[in-house]
């Protein structure tokens, strides 16, 4: 068990690439991609985010990484539609999506709790 990660990008390629890259340093973490629109275009998908969050959760909670502003809007909306129990353990990190996802994945891999994984992601913004 560990905190899971969801990567919400406007691009399916970016999200999938991040899942591979972050997964390399965190083979035990459930990292799920929610990239692009339902039909594979550039944009975000509420349905992809919803199912990725449900899938990433293993009981320890989920940290959601977003790229541009509208990805955050989609992620926040998805959170509103989760049942309260799951929603209580989902956090949206205020962090750069690639750098933050790698840092968060490592923090989750070593057993970090939800808040620690969020902190790891957010601290990555400060690093160069």
């Amino acid at each position: 068990m560990s905190v899971g990660l969801v990567v919400v990008s406007h691009s399916a390629k970016i999200a999938e690439g991040i899942v591979e890259l972050a997964g390399q340093m965190a083979p035990g973490v459930r990292i799920r991609a929610a990239g692009g629109t339902d039909d594979g275009g550039l944009g975000t998908s509420f349905d992809l985010v919803m199912s990725a969050v449900v899938d990433a959760d293993d009981g320890d909670g989920v940290v959601v990484m977003c790229d541009l502003g509208s990805a955050i809007l989609t992620a926040e909306t998805a959170l509103d539609f989760l049942d309260d129990e799951l929603r209580a353990r989902v956090r949206i990190a205020d962090a750069p999506i690639v750098e933050g996802a790698v840092a968060a994945a490592v923090a989750a891999e070593v057993g970090g709790a939800l808040a620690e994984v969020v902190d790891a992601a957010e601290a990555s913004a400060a690093a160069s």
Partner: protein
């Protein structure tokens, strides 16, 4: 006409039509100060909405119809306008939940809830060059019309006109939210696409009263 489910459905159907008609215009606006997809986004969303209109049960209320619009836009739009309009319609539905027919006070409550939903979701303030710059004047004009004892149609007209004026007034602004904010001063002289679609939707509400 009474502002009941028949009006609500007509409003939604007209919304889908008018968004489809202005698809290219909206995208052109978004190409100037965004990523050039606002027309496609809105049309994808409202086409899906139009398809579901027939599925509404016979005893559906205006609130039920608005809720269907909300969830459909949220699931299909794919851009910032999806969660924003989705939240607007969701809060609007909540404000008139259970009502079979909307009176002036309901309309003002509905518009206010919609605007508040957009602000809750997007954190934009008036003057940030977003759809809020159409919605806030619309809400204020509707409230003023209600206070002046105007009827439902006049309230909707006041809202639509104020939204149109508010949208036009985004031209000289610098954007502080959304993709146009990347452009800094370069956004000056361009109209915010989301404010234009907002005004179109509010105008459709007026036109639906004569359907």
């Amino acid at each position: 006409m009474a502002l009941d489910i028949t009006w609500t459905k007509a409003w939604i159907a007209r919304s889908a039509d008018v968004i489809s008609e202005h698809r290219t215009d909206l995208t052109t606006l978004d190409r100037a100060i965004g990523d050039g997809d606002h027309g496609e986004n809105m049309d994808r969303g409202f086409s899906a909405v139009a398809t579901k209109l027939a599925d509404l049960s016979a005893d559906a209320t205006p609130g039920d119809a608005l809720k269907m619009v909300a969830t459909t836009l949220i699931s299909t739009v794919g851009g910032a306008s999806g969660p924003l309009f989705g939240t607007a319609y969701l809060k609007a539905a909540g404000a008139v939940a259970g009502h079979e027919e909307l009176d002036g006070a309901d309309l003002v409550a509905m518009l206010t809830a919609a605007r508040d939903g957009i602000v809750l979701r997007g954190k934009a303030e008036p003057g940030d060059k977003t759809m809020i710059d159409a919605w806030t004047p619309a809400v204020e004009a509707a409230a003023t019309a209600l206070a002046a004892g105007k009827d439902e149609v006049a309230i909707l007209v006041a809202a639509a006109e104020a939204a149109e004026a508010g949208s036009a007034a985004t031209d000289p602004l610098v954007a502080r939210k959304g993709r146009a904010s990347y452009l800094g001063e370069r956004a000056i002289g361009h109209r915010d696409p989301g404010s234009v679609s907002s005004a179109l939707l509010l105008r459709a509400a007026v036109d639906a009263t004569t359907d």
